[in-house]
Structure formats: structure tokens, C-alpha cells
């Protein structure tokens, strides 16, 4: 049995994205990739695409977040690919935002979105599926 103390790569918890994340696309050196936002915190985001995503490197993330309380359009948000899991069913990648290159407006929007997701987060029923069981 392995007893090395490796731990998780992720620094902080990401929250399941709600339906207000739309139009996510990643600008990579190899071209633009359309993606689905999976989970998020103010430091990074998990994305999924049926297209190929580079294994690493700097990228620009564009996406729109629009709910009744907050609308924000992120344009070419700087970040880097931390991991990319390639399978036949699609590529799952994690992006870490380059915080020191973000505008104050973007940074504030990221924090507000994270706060909103924290408030909506239900660890006992992540997908809100079991209320009627």
C-alpha cells in the first residue's frame, strides 16, 4: 500500500457552476475552443469541451455571467491551464486565473460570483435532486 502523503493539487474548493455561466470560450495558441463551465471559485474554473484543449500554457477565457443580481462579461481573462484530462468523451481542464493581471472590475465580479455560488451551495444535495425522495 502506498503511504506517501501526496495531497490534492487544488488549493481551494470549487463550486458547481449555475446556469448563469454562458458563452464560455478559451483562446489558446492553437485557436478558440468552446467549453462548458463546470465548477468555479474566484481563483480558477473547471471547464469541459468536446474539442482538444492544450495540456498547459497561458490562455484567455471569455465568458458571460448573467443573473438577476449580476451581469458581467469577461473578455480574454488571463489564466493558465493547470491540468487537462483528455478522453474520448471530451477534455476536462482546470484554469487558474492570473490574479495579478486582472482588472479590479473583473476581480470584483469573480468574488461576487463566488459569493453567490457559496450561498447556493448545498453540500448535502449538490445537484438538488433528492428533495423529493
Amino acid at each position: 500500500m502506498s503511504n506517501n502523503s501526496i495531497s490534492e493539487k487544488r488549493q481551494s474548493k470549487r463550486y458547481l457552476c449555475d446556469e448563469f455561466f454562458t458563452q464560455s470560450s478559451l483562446q489558446t495558441p492553437e485557436g478558440n475552443v468552446d467549453l462548458t463551465a463546470i465548477d468555479f471559485n474566484k481563483e480558477g474554473i473547471g471547464l469541459f469541451s468536446n474539442e482538444l484543449i492544450p495540456e498547459s500554457g497561458n490562455v484567455g477565457l471569455s465568458m458571460r455571467y448573467e443573473n438577476p443580481a449580476l451581469t458581467h462579461e469577461f473578455c480574454n481573462l488571463p489564466g493558465s491551464i493547470v491540468y487537462c484530462n483528455q478522453t474520448e468523451v471530451g477534455s476536462h481542464c482546470g484554469i487558474r486565473f492570473t490574479l495579478n493581471e486582472l482588472s479590479q472590475t473583473d476581480r470584483t465580479a469573480l468574488e461576487k460570483i463566488e459569493t453567490h455560488l457559496i450561498n447556493c451551495d448545498d453540500p448535502d444535495d449538490r445537484y438538488h435532486l433528492f428533495d423529493d425522495d
Binding site: 502506498s2 502523503s5 462548458t36 469541459f48 468523451v89 433528492f130
Partner: protein
């Protein structure tokens, strides 16, 4: 509208009559001279045109005069009941004739059973008692899949009797107990991905079909489709299939051809079960039309392929490939949840998440105390408080293994799961504990 009204039926072209609504052929529409992909037969000349280009078609069951095809037992069905669907493969090299079609006449569902027809299964045996049998079943299935793929790869004649038996044993185990084989799907070996993935998809789809309330025959059909869904990979060059690194765009495009290879292969060896052929061909199609190989849209994708696509995605994401690490069950469920309605059927995706559960057996979890453990069994009455085998203390150091039931009153409100971790987090690997027998001993004592 009921599932029966949605049902699709496969019939030979020579039994078509006016008024029937043809929705699929035994070949891609694009390979025929029909302009529309689906139509109601209004003229005998349309039947003649169909007869020149296909042997059988799929019609909507609520179209005219199809009732005679629904449940009539025939030789094939009796043989399938006796030998499993693989019985068809013994018709190898038998020439297809237009007077005697080898098509199956069973119902082709395109939705789960309606509530009043849904079968509610209960485990007949505890997980611990089923596990030793399940382990043998899994190992046999792995051998037979390896043998099947190797036979195809080197051009030997394909003997699928052992695979047929393996599927029967898998379905029998899943019906006896829904968790034991699913436990084993968590144990993955990087160098055996293709075989293990085929078996895991078979197990997961059978478990899902049981959850949806399908009857046993339907569960077997779905399980066989799951086992054979990637059979086309045997035609993908080994240096791409087993590449120790990420695939390039060109390599990925070759890999994507496994769907067409699979369809052609199953047809060429005389596998006339249309469900398995369809699933091998269409399990990477997406609802939004961005899938492959044909870019089908939601209504064109067979129900069975939608089921297999979910099991396929879940196992692929949670598997450790030669070029990347595995992801936690919850990350795979997150992806399925977020891609529902776009990549996956919305209702089936939700049902699949319910079937797998938030903390499935074999999941590595961290408690709010900081301790780390392995989920050994779900609690039926509280999905969020399973039985856990603790293996790391709050400082993530090795501790004496200790089983705890999180539903116990002493833990209520104090100790609960904080999050799921990927396998191998803090050096905890579920397969180590299973191979040591620790899990089996604990569960056997609790059964």
C-alpha cells in the same frame, strides 16, 4: 404520452405496409437515395425503394398495424433467452438473404419504463457476500474481453460464447446486488484500460438499467451493448490506443473511427442485434449535433446509446489513463450534470446521477474531522451518510483501519463527509484495500 407510445419496432422491409412511420434504416440515411430522414409510407413504390436498399427498418410503434411485431416469440428470441444475445454470433458467415432477415424483432424502447411498469429491484444478497463471486465474474469478463479484442486484432475467428457467459454473470450479479460489481469498477489499472473500460461500462449500464426499472431481458440487452460499445477499438492501431501521452488531432481523429469500425465489425461477424450495432456506432453522438461520427441530433440518437454514453463518460472521466490521472466520481457527475441537455439526455443524466449517488462505494472521502476513508456501503435511508472505512487520521497519517457508520447517532450532527477526493489522494487507493481483503472482511461481517 407513455413509453409504449414512444416505442420503436424493428421489422423486415418485406413486412412494411402503407401508413407505417419509418424512422430509421439498417444503414445511414446518407447512404440511400431518400431525401428525408424519416417518413410515413404513402405509396407502395416507397416500400420497393426501401427493399432495394435495406433489409429492415425501425418504425414508430404507434404507426399503423405494427402490433403483430411487438411480442411474437421467434426462434431467435427463444435462443437468445437460452444463450444470451451473443447467440447470434454463431450465425457467422451465414449469408444474409432478403427472404429471411436476421433482424431481431424485440421492442426497441426509447424511454425508461413508465412508473406503473417500472420494476423495483431489491438486493437479494448483501454486498459482502456477493463480492467474492463478483470478483470472479469481473476477472472472467476481463479475460474474455481481452480474448475477444485480441482475436479481432489478429484476425482469428471470433468466439463470443465466453463473453456471452460473462455478460450473463454480470447481469445476474447486478440483479442480486447492485453494489458489489460497481465496487470493482473503482479498481482500475492503467495498462488494462480498454478491457476494464468495456466491462465497467457494461456493469454501470446494467446497474443503471436496473435503477430505471427495466426488465431483466432489457438489462441484458443494455449490458451487452455496453460490453461491445468500444469493440471497434480493436481496429485502432495499438500505438495510438496505448499511446503514453496525449493524442494529437490526427491521432484523435483515428481514434474516433472506432465507432464506425465497431459498427462494421459487428455487422461483418454476423452480429445481427441492432441495438449493439447501433450503440457501437452512435455512443459518441451528442444531443446538440456536435458528436461523432455522424453529428446526429437528439431525436436521431437511439435511447440505448444515450444510456451507454452516460456510463462511458462516467467511467472515462474517473479512469486513470496512461497519459493522465483519474478524477473523482463527483467531478464526473459534475460534468454529466452540466452537460445534460447538450451532450447527454437531460432526464437520463439526472437519473444516472441519482443511480450513482453522491458517495458511491469505493469513493475516497475526507470527513469534516480531517480523517480520510473509503466508502464501503451506502445507507439506503441516508445517501449522504454511508459506511466508511477510516484509513488516515486527521493529520493524514496512516491509522488502524476503522469502519464507521455515519448514520450512528453518536456521529449525527458532528461527523460528516466534507468532500470526495480522487483515488490515490493521501496515498489511499481503494484497490489496495480490496486486494488486501480488508473491505471484503468488513462487508462480509456486516452482511
Amino acid at each position: 404520452m407513455t413509453a409504449n407510445q414512444h416505442n420503436e419496432i424493428e421489422i423486415p422491409v418485406n413486412q412494411l405496409t402503407l401508413g407505417m412511420h419509418v424512422i430509421r434504416l439498417d444503414r445511414p440515411w446518407l447512404e440511400t437515395d431518400f431525401q428525408l430522414q424519416g417518413f410515413v409510407i404513402k405509396d407502395p413504390s416507397q416500400i420497393k425503394r426501401l427493399a432495394k436498399q435495406c433489409q429492415y427498418v425501425v418504425i414508430r410503434s404507434n404507426s399503423k398495424s405494427n402490433s403483430t411485431f411487438t411480442q411474437t416469440p421467434n426462434y431467435d428470441e427463444r435462443r437468445i433467452k437460452k444463450q444470451g444475445l451473443f447467440a447470434r454470433l454463431f450465425k457467422k458467415n451465414k449469408p444474409l438473404t432478403k427472404t429471411k432477415s436476421v433482424a431481431t424483432y424485440h421492442h426497441i424502447a426509447n424511454a425508461p419504463p413508465v412508473p406503473e411498469k417500472r420494476i423495483i429491484y431489491t438486493d437479494q444478497i448483501g454486498t459482502g457476500k456477493e463480492l467474492p463471486t463478483a470478483k470472479i465474474t469481473y476477472d472472467e469478463a476481463k479475460n474474455s474481453v481481452n480474448h475477444l479484442m485480441e482475436s479481432i486484432r489478429v484476425g482469428r475467428s471470433v468466439n463470443v460464447l465466453e463473453s456471452s457467459k460473462a455478460v450473463d454473470h454480470i447481469v445476474d450479479s447486478v440483479i442480486r446486488n447492485q453494489d458489489a460489481l460497481r465496487w470493482l469498477t473503482k479498481i482500475k489499472h492503467q495498462d488494462a484500460y480498454t478491457a476494464e473500460h468495456s466491462i465497467n461500462v457494461c456493469i454501470l449500464s446494467a446497474t443503471f438499467a436496473r435503477f430505471l426499472g427495466h426488465d431483466e431481458g432489457e438489462i441484458r440487452r443494455i449490458a451487452i451493448s455496453g460490453l461491445l460499445h468500444d469493440v471497434g477499438k480493436s481496429r485502432v492501431p495499438a500505438d495510438i490506443l496505448n499511446k503514453n501521452g496525449r493524442l494529437t488531432v490526427d491521432e484523435l481523429n483515428i481514434m474516433k473511427e472506432h465507432t464506425t469500425f465497431g459498427k462494421d465489425l459487428l455487422l461483418s461477424i454476423g452480429h445481427a442485434d441492432r441495438i449493439a450495432v447501433d450503440v457501437a456506432h452512435t455512443h459518441h453522438e451528442r444531443l446538440d449535433g456536435k458528436g461523432y461520427p455522424r453529428g446526429l441530433t437528439a431525436s436521431q440518437i437511439p435511447y440505448y446509446a444515450k444510456i451507454i454514453a452516460l456510463a462511458d463518460c462516467y467511467d472515462a472521466i474517473t479512469s486513470s489513463r496512461c497519459y493522465d490521472g483519474a478524477r473523482a466520481s463527483m467531478e464526473a457527475l459534475d460534468i454529466i450534470y452540466k452537460c445534460r441537455g447538450v451532450q447527454f439526455d437531460n432526464d437520463l443524466a439526472i437519473d444516472f446521477i441519482k443511480c450513482i449517488g453522491i458517495y458511491p462505494p469505493g469513493a475516497i472521502v475526507e470527513l469534516n474531522t480531517g480523517q480520510v476513508g473509503i466508502v464501503i456501503a451506502a445507507n439506503i435511508n441516508n445517501k449522504l451518510r454511508p459506511k466508511v472505512l477510516l484509513v488516515r487520521n486527521k493529520d493524514k497519517k496512516i491509522m488502524s483501519e476503522k469502519p464507521v457508520d455515519l448514520t450512528n447517532s453518536e456521529f449525527q450532527g458532528k461527523i460528516k463527509i466534507a468532500r470526495e477526493l480522487p483515488d490515490d489522494s493521501y496515498g489511499v487507493h481503494s484497490r489496495d484495500y480490496l486486494s488486501m481483503g480488508a473491505i471484503m472482511d468488513i462487508m462480509r461481517n456486516q452482511s
